[in-house]
């Protein structure tokens, strides 16, 4: 995430200006490293691994602390002026009203549950509660100091807290199999979100993604069943997906305010058409049967292997795509023009950026990534199903929103979406782990989106817009 946070750092090397701070950071790092060193030997892990981990931990920690210190240092003057408010109890109250009220409400809820449900009184829950309160304080007090990347910061903190809480409450949460499963599902969602992020950066929305996923899922299986070579079938489906996305872009170009509904209608049509096409001459009425080729299964299945590593290639594919998209958005002319158009159409046009071109390309990429997700999901499940993408209707949107990309366009990036995707998947795994059913998960997702967005995505008051 480093590239998001600040160009304020000096060439990526974050060294605070004051000497004392550097020494303090070094000392803190040393203490933590020593503790982990001792713990490692106490647990009886072999010496080489302990030494390796300690060195890595120390390096990362030192870099992180310095980095945070630099960010606060460079923005130090502005909080001073803000804190000119009246001191004392009244000042504290007026400055932190929302925070205090929220914390009090959480405390009351916690106490109520603890008092009424005996099985709730565990150490894990207490730690989870304290962590939540700490996150709240952190989110309110610290994140204000970031000029940009606040949402990503909050998202990372939430992610960290979720992982800590989950590993306390759920046995085997940090096992390799579970992490692999979380990453695999995150990869599916993340690849589907590539297009949604780009489109959102331009101020549009693409709700045809789930339908394209489902259609490419059954379409690919149908083509393979017809005897088309599997690589050709995949290429064909991806090309069709991109073409449909392009069509979405062309049709919605003049109706940008209503792109949401237009893409929904397109999605309906696509799903209907593909189902008609696949059921012509078949007596199964839309059900497609066939065998998925081995390489596609290996690509996305849980026990897939990449060059002998026991990691499904989809995860590596996602990482590669993420790097390409993040770097591309940040450094290529294409990426910068997307931000320019999303930020201000008029000025972007005046410097000669073609709005039509970028709008349609963004939608074409969206169609392509959705088709790719559909193909990968076919490899994962081994059978075609039109409804396989249904849950992506709102989760792609939710991941983009939770990550912090503005739906109005011009602000955000794929890195943010990656955080959003991980938060969603880890939360989902946590909720499954504590035994909640799917409907409760959905309920909690719904309630989570609002406060996450409220922390960073608030519009200015109408007074400030006139």
């Amino acid at each position: 995430m480093s590239e998001m946070f600040g160009e304020g750092g000096r060439g990526g090397l974050f060294v605070p200006r004051s000497r004392a701070l550097v020494w303090f950071n070094l000392a803190a790092t040393f203490v933590v490293a020593a503790i982990s060193f001792g713990l490692g030997f106490w647990q009886g892990i072999s010496a080489q691994i302990v030494i390796l981990y300690t060195i890595v931990l120390a390096a990362v920690l030192f870099w992180l602390i310095n980095y945070v210190a630099v960010i606060f240092e460079s923005r130090a003057p502005s909080p001073e002026t803000d804190n000119a408010a009246p001191a004392g109890v009244g000042g504290v109250w007026s400055g932190n009203r929302v925070l205090i009220v929220t914390m009090a409400v959480m405390l009351i809820v916690y106490l109520l549950i603890t008092a009424t449900v005996p099985s709730f009184r565990t150490l894990g829950n207490l730690i989870a509660f304290l962590l939540l309160e700490a996150i709240l304080v952190f989110a309110f007090k610290v994140s204000n100091r970031f000029a940009r990347g606040r949402s990503a910061f909050i998202g990372l903190i939430v992610l960290l807290a979720l992982i800590v809480i989950s590993s306390f409450t759920i046995n085997g949460f940090l096992s390799a199999a579970n992490i692999k499963a979380i990453l695999l599902f995150a990869a599916f969602l993340g690849i589907a979100c590539v297009g949604q992020t780009l489109v959102a950066l331009l101020g549009g929305l693409d709700l045809s993604i789930p339908f394209v996923i489902g259609s490419s899922n059954i379409g690919l299986l149908f083509l393979i069943g017809l005897g088309v070579p599997s690589w050709l079938a995949v290429a064909f489906v991806l090309a069709i997906g991109a073409a449909l996305g392009f069509l979405n872009g062309v049709l919605s170009y003049r109706l940008q305010g209503q792109a949401l509904i237009l893409t929904l209608g397109m999605g309906f049509s696509i799903a209907g058409l593909v189902q008609i096409l696949t059921s012509i001459g078949s007596s199964f009425g839309g059900n497609v049967f066939g065998t998925v080729p081995k390489w596609l299964q290996n690509l996305a299945a849980m026990n897939g292997r990449t060059f002998g590593l026991a990691v499904p290639p989809t995860i590596l594919l996602w990482i590669a795509i993420a790097i390409i998209v993040i770097v591309g958005l940040r450094y290529s002319a294409f990426g910068r023009y997307i931000y320019a158009l999303g930020g201000n159409r008029r000025s972007a046009k005046l410097i000669g950026v073609s709005e039509f071109k970028y709008w349609t390309i963004a939608y074409a990429i969206s169609g392509f990534s959705a088709a790719l997700t559909g193909c990968l999901l076919l490899g994962w499940s081994g059978g075609g199903f039109i409804g396989v993408g249904d849950q992506y209707l709102f989760t792609t949107l939710a991941a983009v929103v939770i990550g912090g990309t503005s739906l109005m366009g011009g602000y955000g990036g794929y890195g943010y979406t990656v955080i959003g995707v991980l938060v969603l998947q880890v939360l989902s795994a946590f909720l499954i782990g504590i035994g909640l059913k799917y409907e409760w998960q959905q309920f909690i997702f719904g309630l989570l989106i609002l406060p996450m967005v409220a922390l960073y995505g608030r519009a200015p008051h109408i007074r400030a817009q006139v």
Binding site: L251, R254, L255, G257, Q258, L260, I261, L262, L264, G265, M266, G267, F268, S269, I270, A271, G272, L273, Q275, I276, S279, I280, S283, G285, G286, L393, F394, L397, A398, V401, L407, M408, Y438, E439, W440, Q441, Q442, F443, I444, F445, G446, L447, I449, L450, V453, A454, G457, R458, A459, P460, H461, I462, R463, Q465, V466
Partner: protein, 458 residues
């Protein structure tokens, strides 16, 4: 029908044209629609959709791109709550059920409005959040479709008559909105939807107006949920997403602008009816196993096409300003009614001819043209006991209404320079007369066969 009025509502031309086409096709393809039970069930089936569309419409007019995606899950939420409370025996009476339904709708929308106003996040995010939360909680309340609606609702969903309580609810909702449009609050609402900053700077209390729009939307959703409960006579937590999608489609079909400031009850009603008719027409074709997919394809295509058509609204407004939507509605309405009369009477006569010519030559106009199938035994129709006095009263009222309308139209047209609605009314009366004549002709035994064959060809 002055020019300003015409250009203001130009967006209604497209849905009006569409509904005329669809209704004609529907009547020709499935003549069963033109009967008491046909109309009755059509009203009951489309009522929840109509009210959900109204709810979306009220919010869309309020601007800021408010598309309440949660309208379907909210409707389902109220539905399952009613059924659950009824099952537990807590709330069973009509008063209580209405209170619960409207109360939940209003409370949710109030919450929605307060979040938009005070937390100041985009409405679409609040709607998304509500969608996910409500879809989840619906399944918690009622894991699978089931339960029973309150007993007093049982007769509502049968649909063998036009004048069901559901129709009353829909009519009341429409009347309430039309009354509401007369208030200055409505003017403020439209101003805010069209340009919020302008509204704010000209002293409109936008927060109050926004809360008002949401409360109205909540009332509509509550009524829609009651109609939905009456329709399915049980609880169904799974239909929320479908309802949202169809209601949004209906909203767009009705020409309501999603960017705010444009829309009305007529657009919402036409859109919902259009959508219902699309489903009806598609159901009359037999696509075999792919029926569901074809329906899906057409829903999507029509949604896209009608959205693209809204691009043409300014063009229509520029070149076709002399056609007022109201006049077009009258003309096309008469044409469609004519087709309906023709189709329904043709069937009546066909049945009679098969029965063996036991046709009452002097069957009066009331029974022949009130869309009622004449019983084969000749014992009379569903409306048998109209005394002479009643006929006189009804006839007098009809004549009075026609006279009033004509005179009003003449006066209005005299005030404007152009010859507008009056000529349309005249033309439509002629068309209607034509169909009456055709209907009269077709019961002559000699022409019956040709009328039958030519009628069934389209």
């Amino acid at each position: 029908m002055s020019q300003s009025r015409g250009s203001q509502n130009t967006y209604l031309l497209v849905p009006i044209l569409l509904i005329a086409l669809l209704l004609s096709t529907a009547v020709i393809r499935g003549p069963n629609l033109v009967s008491l039970s046909g109309f009755g069930s059509a009203i009951i089936v489309s009522a929840p959709l109509i009210l959900a569309t109204f709810s979306l419409m009220a919010l869309a007019v309020a601007g800021r791109g408010t598309v309440d995606l949660a309208v379907g899950p909210l409707l389902a939420f109220i539905n399952v709550t009613i059924v659950k409370l009824n099952g537990l025996g807590i709330v069973t009476g009509p008063f209580g059920v209405f209170l619960v339904a409207l109360g939940i709708g209003v409370l949710y929308q109030l919450f929605f409005a307060l979040i938009i106003i005070f937390v100041r996040v985009q409405p679409i995010i609040v709607a998304l959040s509500g969608f996910l939360a409500l879809t989840g909680i619906n399944l918690v309340i009622l894991p699978r479709p089931g339960g029973t609606a309150p007993e007093w609702m049982a007769s509502w969903g049968i649909g063998n008559t036009i004048f069901s309580p559901v129709l009353l609810i829909v009519l009341l909702a429409i009347a309430a909105w039309l009354l509401f449009t007369m208030t200055s609050f409505y003017a403020n609402l439209r101003l805010m939807g069209y340009d919020e900053r302008a509204a704010y700077t000209s002293g409109v209390r936008i927060n109050v107006v926004r809360v008002g729009a949401h409360v109205i939307a909540g009332l509509f959703v509550g009524l829609g949920a009651i109609c939905y409960t009456a329709l399915i006579a049980s609880g169904d937590p799974t239909q929320g997403t479908t309802m949202t999608l169809t209601a949004v489609t209906a909203l767009v079909l009705g020409g309501v602008s999603l960017s705010g400031g444009r829309g009305g009850v007529a657009g919402g009603l036409l859109g919902a009816l259009n959508l219902f008719l699309i489903g009806y027409v598609l159901a009359t074709f037999n696509f075999g196993a792919t029926q569901a997919f074809v329906t899906q394809l057409f829903y999507g295509l029509i949604l896209v096409l009608s959205l693209l058509l809204t691009l043409l609204v300014p063009v229509i407004g520029r070149y076709l300003y002399f056609i007022s939507p109201f006049a077009a509605f009258v003309v096309l309405g008469c044409v469609v009614v004519g087709i309906m009369l023709y189709v329904s009477t043709r069937d009546t006569y066909a049945v009679v001819a098969v029965a063996g010519g036991a046709f009452k030559q002097d069957a009066d106009v009331m029974t022949r043209y009130l869309l009622l199938p004449v019983m084969q035994s000749g014992s009379g129709s569903v409306l048998p006991d109209l005394t002479t006095l009643q006929k006189t009263v009804f006839g007098f009222a009809a004549v009075l209404a026609v006279l009033t309308f004509t005179i009003r139209a003449i006066v209005a047209e005299a005030a404007s320079v152009r010859l507008g609605a009056f000529i349309y009314v005249f033309v439509s009366a002629l068309i209607l007369l034509l169909f009456v004549v055709v209907g009269e002709q077709s019961h002559v035994p000699g022409t019956l066969a040709t009328g039958q064959s030519s009628g069934s060809a389209p």
